[in-house]
Amino acid sequence: MSTEGKVTPLVEVRGIGVRFGGLQALDDVSFDVRPGEFVSVIGPNGAGKSTLFNVISGVQRPTSGSVLIDGRPIRRYRPDLVHARGVGRTFQVARPVGSLTVRDNVLLGAGGRRLHGVLSSLRPRGRDKTLQHRVDDLLELAGLTAVAHRPAAEISPGDLRRMEIARALGDEPRLVLLDEPAAGVGSDGLTPLAELLGRISDRGVAVLLVEHYVGLALSLSDRAVVLNRGRLLALGEPDEIRANQAVIDAYLGTKRSRGTVVVPPATGTEEER
């Protein structure tokens, strides 16, 4: 897909800068994400990855630059408006609605785009058949069927992270932003997670992934963006990134690291791409 060329980007990040007091958390960052593409955002701690997600999802207004979705810029940085344009997200620290069940959490993620107004949103959330099917499907996809009826406050951290992903996918977004989905997921949980990410991508949803498990991230990605101290350090295909000396110095390190993990590619993905 990266070789195909002339496709309108789904999201264009143009010269984004974010300043917090004296700190330039992001500085003139530009790149784009094409429909269905899988892009990783990696970089050291404090590089500005989460800040970048906050800008793209409308939580944080940038001090300079702009974000375009389908060629049209975001004018009002409001998460619900960005959501309505087909962008879903998760948070670095999972944020469940703890008093609701896992199923209701996912259900909340599904339906916002069609039910924006107060009156239309008053329809019973438990009755819409297509909505129910989608939610069941997402719970199944994320492997949450067993815990679907437990309050979100009580489930394990691993389940919680997958619930966040399912919830972000609820409204059939064209792009999801996933902030460290593997953090806190045990080593035995990484393979299922990688498979889940692969399946999301297979559905044609573009993915922007922040992850310190670099091996996992790069093995799934079409391209990767590397940030360092708010600046774009490198942008390219996984192999270029792995070989990039600047990236190694700033982030990957020279010694053996978890960057060497190789995930078995999910079957069937090659042909489709």
Binding site: V59, H83, G88, V97, S99, V118, R125, R167, D171
Partner: protein, 303 residues
């Protein structure tokens, strides 16, 4: 008998306001300590328009609803700007301000209040307490119905999400400002209608009737019963209306009993008497489960 009916009507009307309060305080989690101000606005507009301008009971109901609803929307808009605790105390202040307005604006009849509301008529006959009983029960039914619709809708789910985490709610597509303001408007509108009926029922009102103490009482009812549940709102309102009545004989100790009851319940059942995960709710759930699982076990064995 009539006394029982009067107490019943009072309890049902209180339950209706508390169920409406549950929309903002329970579902949307907004610390709303001003519900009696909206209740009072409804009552006051009803009283003024009927006593001084001769409008009928049925004509003032929609006016009360509208006025309270609009005022609620304004409060909702304020809530958008303020952090939780700032907002809580702003609502405390709102009570004092509204009472001051009732007292100092001539339209509202000043400190003396308004008395001598006529009995509503229906098809030519004047209301009796029995009529009030039916009317208030219908009103409670309406408020409960509206609450149920809200609770089971995407809108209601989002209100609960807003209660816990506004950022999450808006990232999932909820227009937080619109939802919050509309929840306040809806809750206040219902309270205003109840206020209008209440004014006609007790036939004379004074500013202090709708002051901070009343707001606290309404919120106490909700918390004692179980915040965030319709049954809790009703149980709390009924209990806190009945207990002071039942303790009339202990005149000198009545308020003390009320205070002690409040503290003891909140201390030992802070989730409310019939709220989620209260002793009663848990016990009921256990009973239900037992009565359901018993036959299930039999079929399993025989299968």
């Amino acid at each position: 008998m009539t006394y029982a009916i009067v107490v019943a009507v009072t309890a049902i009307l209180m339950a209706s306001v508390v169920v409406s309060l549950n929309l903002t305080a329970g579902y949307a989690g907004q610390p709303n300590l001003a519900q009696s101000a909206f209740f009072g606005l409804g009552a006051y507009f009803a009283a003024v328009l009927s006593v001084q301008h001769g409008l009928s009971f049925w004509a003032v109901l929609p006016v009360s609803a509208l006025v309270s609803g609009l005022a609620g929307a304004v409060l909702g808009a304020i809530s958008l700007r303020l952090r939780e605790d700032f907002f809580a105390i702003t609502t405390v202040g709102l009570n004092f301000v509204v009472v001051a307005l009732f007292k100092s604006i001539d339209f509202f009849g000043g400190a003396t209040g308004i008395y001598g509301l006529p009995l509503p008529t229906l098809g030519g006959t004047s209301f009796t307490n029995d009529h009030f009983l039916v009317l208030s029960a219908l009103l409670l039914g309406l408020v409960v119905l509206v609450s149920k619709v809200v609770r089971d809708s995407w809108y209601g789910g989002m209100l609960m999400a807003i209660r816990e985490d506004e950022l999450v709610a808006s990232s999932l597509g909820a227009p937080v400002a619109l939802f919050k303001a509309s929840a306040f408007a809806l809750s206040s509108l219902l309270a205003g209608v109840v206020g209008a009926v209440y004014a006609f029922f007790i036939s004379s009102i004074t500013p202090e009737t709708f002051g901070f103490n009343q707001s606290v009482l309404l919120l106490s009812m909700l918390i004692i019963g179980g915040m965030g549940t319709i049954r809790g709102a009703i149980v709390g309102a009924v209990l806190l209306t009945l207990i002071p009545e039942m303790f009339r004989f202990a005149s000198d100790y009545r308020s003390l009993v009320y205070g002690v009851f409040l503290v003891l319940v909140l201390r030992f059942q802070p989730q409310g008497l019939v709220g989620e995960d209260s002793w009663l709710a848990r016990g009921a759930a256990r009973l239900l489960r037992r009565s359901r699982s018993a036959p299930a076990a039999v079929t399993e064995v025989s299968a």
